[in-house]
């Protein structure tokens, strides 16, 4: 590890813990501290929890330029922050939960932990259902992957509630900036599937993002886009 990276890591862990004391307990086992990255809208302005629509799928890239994530504002009163989750390797971690009023603003990697299906610029087979049922899940307020039928509960740390996925979606640890009140991504929790992802999707990622771009860490800011703008076709199931 480079000295600069190490210092950055320490700083972001400290910042994350300062912003969200729950992390203190989770930090040793659960959280991988990564670059502190500001979420911005298409105009470059910070993203505030109140400006997000409940139920809308938003996409941003984190911690790498080619790894898409969901940002969701969930209905109030359902979020189970701190719920213990388990990776496929058996590592238990308490979900850091969300931010904003009631902790309803949550983020997860949008890469399915079964076989890594994820939203691309062309198609989105995996996304969050609100206000309508996912047919495969038989309910709403879930993230369903249409490729093989894995269903995740975003209010419970994207825990698997049906289908073949062996572990929850990787959680993205968020915090609110003390100064501008905007959203920041500071780390990840749970499954680390990025290495596998870059290997399996090398050709596709090159096509979508350019040579060697997808693997670069996001630094500074990352742009938040509604799913419907990010992808040409959203597939429901």
């Amino acid at each position: 590890m480079k000295r600069r990276t190490f210092i950055k890591l320490c700083t972001s862990v400290t910042a994350a813990i300062a912003a969200n004391p729950r992390l203190l307990a989770a930090a040793p086992t659960g959280v991988t501290a990564r670059n502190r990255v500001k979420l911005v809208d298409a105009k470059g302005a910070p993203v505030h929890p109140d400006g997000l629509a409940v139920g809308q799928n938003y996409i941003f890239h984190y911690p790498f330029q080619g790894t898409p994530c969901f940002l969701l504002r969930l209905p109030a009163g359902k979020v189970k922050a701190g719920i213990p989750l388990k990776t496929e390797k058996g590592e238990v971690y308490p979900w850091a939960g969300g931010v904003g009023k009631g902790g309803t603003v949550v983020a997860f990697s949008a890469i399915c932990t079964h076989l890594m299906t994820h939203p691309t610029d062309k198609l989105a087979f995996i996304h969050y259902y609100h206000g309508k049922d996912s047919e495969l899940a038989g309910r709403s307020d879930v993230i369903t992957c249409c490729a093989h039928g894995s269903v995740f509960d975003p209010a419970a740390g994207a825990k698997v509630i049906a289908g073949p996925a062996p572990q929850p979606l990787t959680a993205i640890v968020l915090e609110l900036d003390a100064k501008d009140g905007g959203l920041y991504a500071v780390g990840t929790q749970g499954a680390d599937i990025y290495h596998q992802f870059f290997r399996a999707f090398k050709r596709e990622l090159r096509k979508q993002f350019g040579r060697r771009v997808a693997k670069r860490e996001v630094e500074g800011t990352t742009t938040l886009v509604p799913l419907e703008e990010y992808t040409k076709q959203r597939i429901d199931c």
């Binding site: 890594m116 495969l136 399996a200």
Partner: protein, 440 residues
């Protein structure tokens, strides 16, 4: 060639077995008992040999390595290139290129940390834990046999071996990928009209939706080309096996003039010369056909002594929860040769492999792996080619133990009647993701 006494006895026994099967026993026994060791690097951990590079074997090889990285995994496969049976109906219809279906075993092995031996497994000596192949023998700590299905033409009442050979060659089922599929595609391209017969075999067969999907795909082509042609689908079952409502609706609404569905059709025999299917309820003459005979466990099970002789489908004699050969916890049978009534599909094979790899890894570490969990199958079946539309079918299994401790599995299929393009796209993603999983 110098043989030890035990080797000589084993050779004779093998010769007898093969002879009893009607093969040229003596010649084969000579060939299979090559005393040469296969050219492989020295194992660095417990060696697990996987026989068969289909969906089950490829998934097993990958997950064994993932579960226990010090396993030294060797995949023995006689084909030099992989071709997928799932999605092959779409290729028959011209919806995907052949490149979508074919993949490299070398990629699978080098990307997933195991070795691929392009060889035919010929004989098994469980006492010595030694597998003989056309490229030499391999000593194993664990053996996984995932040989897929065989065709049982005799069980379809075709008594004359010459007729069986002719059926296999002239009217291939196209459920074991390779030349069978290439030939069927050529037949469909050359077909100018008349009756094209497809059959659904009795019992458990590979890919429950596929014969119905194939009927739709072929009818869709006939309809597009305005051929005076009909698909006659002779089903040994009383009704459509899975996706019942959806397929009935599709047959009625899209292909009323192109598909004649005949349920409960028991084939008494087949006359390839006269192009005639002889059934209990009457005969059906055809202009061309793809005859799907009853399915059995692959022949290699019988040769290796892994077959359950009491099983009408000649499948493996294994523990239904742990998958090991009864009486030998070093030998496992997975995939379409398993005797449990789990759908014979690529998805179940992959899903099951995740579990069985854990069972074997735990056994190697001296612990018992108890929590059985169900393999799953979510399948997308194409019902129309222009536009490309599909239905979906979902199944999982439950484990029940009755008072006599007999284990049974029950499939609970969930059917989606509605067909659309989104499901067709999901079906393509379904497959792409699995190919990536097995090969990248």
């Amino acid at each position: 060639m110098k043989l030890s006494r035990r080797e000589f006895l084993a050779t004779s026994a093998a010769g007898a077995t093969i002879g009893a099967m009607g093969r040229s026993g003596a010649v084969m026994a000579q060939a299979v008992r090559s005393p040469r060791r296969a050219e492989l690097p020295r194992p660095r951990g417990p060696r697990v040999v996987v026989v068969g590079g289909g969906w089950s074997g490829l998934s097993m090889a990958k997950y064994l390595k993932q579960e226990k990285p010090d396993f030294d995994v060797v995949l023995v496969e006689r084909r030099a290139m992989f071709m997928s049976c799932p999605m092959s109906n779409l290729w028959l219809a011209g919806l995907i290129e052949l490149e979508f279906l074919v993949h490299s075993y070398l990629d699978a092995a080098r990307n997933n940390g195991y070795l691929y031996l392009n060889a035919t497994a010929t004989e098994l000596d469980r006492h010595r834990r030694r597998l003989y192949t056309s490229e030499g023998f391999i000593d194993y700590d664990y053996l996984v046999v995932a040989p897929g299905i065989g065709y049982d033409y005799a069980a379809m009442g075709v008594k004359d071996p010459a007729d069986r050979a002719r059926l296999a060659q002239d009217y291939p089922a196209a459920f074991r990928p390779g030349s069978e599929h290439l030939t069927l595609k050529r037949k469909l391209e050359d077909f100018d009209g008349g009756t094209f017969v497809l059959t659904v075999p009795p019992g458990s067969y590979r890919c429950p939706t596929a014969p119905y999907e194939r009927a739709c795909v072929i009818a869709s082509l006939f309809k597009r080309d305005r051929l005076k042609a009909k698909v006659v689908l002779l089903d040994a079952h009383a009704d459509i096996v899975v996706g019942r409502h959806g397929f009935h609706e599709v047959f009625r609404r899209l292909y009323a003039d192109y598909i004649e569905y005949v349920p409960g059709f028991e084939i008494e025999t087949l006359d390839p010369g006269r192009k005639r299917v002889v059934g209990g309820v009457g005969d059906v003459d055809f202009d061309d056909a793809a005859i799907y005979p009853p399915v059995r466990g692959a022949e290699v099970l019988e040769r290796f002594g892994l077959m359950d002789p009491a099983d009408p489908q000649k499948e493996a004699r294994i523990d239904p929860l742990r998958y090991h050969l009864l009486g030998d916890e070093r030998v496992y049978v997975t995939g379409d040769s398993r005797p449990m009534p789990i759908a014979k599909t690529g998805y179940t094979a992959n899903s099951e492999a995740r579990y069985v790899a854990k069972v074997i890894a735990h056994h190697a570490e001296g612990s018992d792996f108890t929590p059985w969990y169900s393999p799953e199958a979510l399948c997308y079946a194409t019902v129309s080619t222009h536009p490309h539309q599909a239905i979906s079918v979902f199944a999982h299994y439950i484990y029940r133990q009755n008072e006599r401790e007999v284990v049974t599995y029950t499939a609970r299929p969930d059917v989606d009647d509605h067909w659309d393009h989104a499901k067709a796209l999901s079906g393509l993603e379904w497959a792409r993701a699995f190919y990536r999983e097995m090969f990248d």
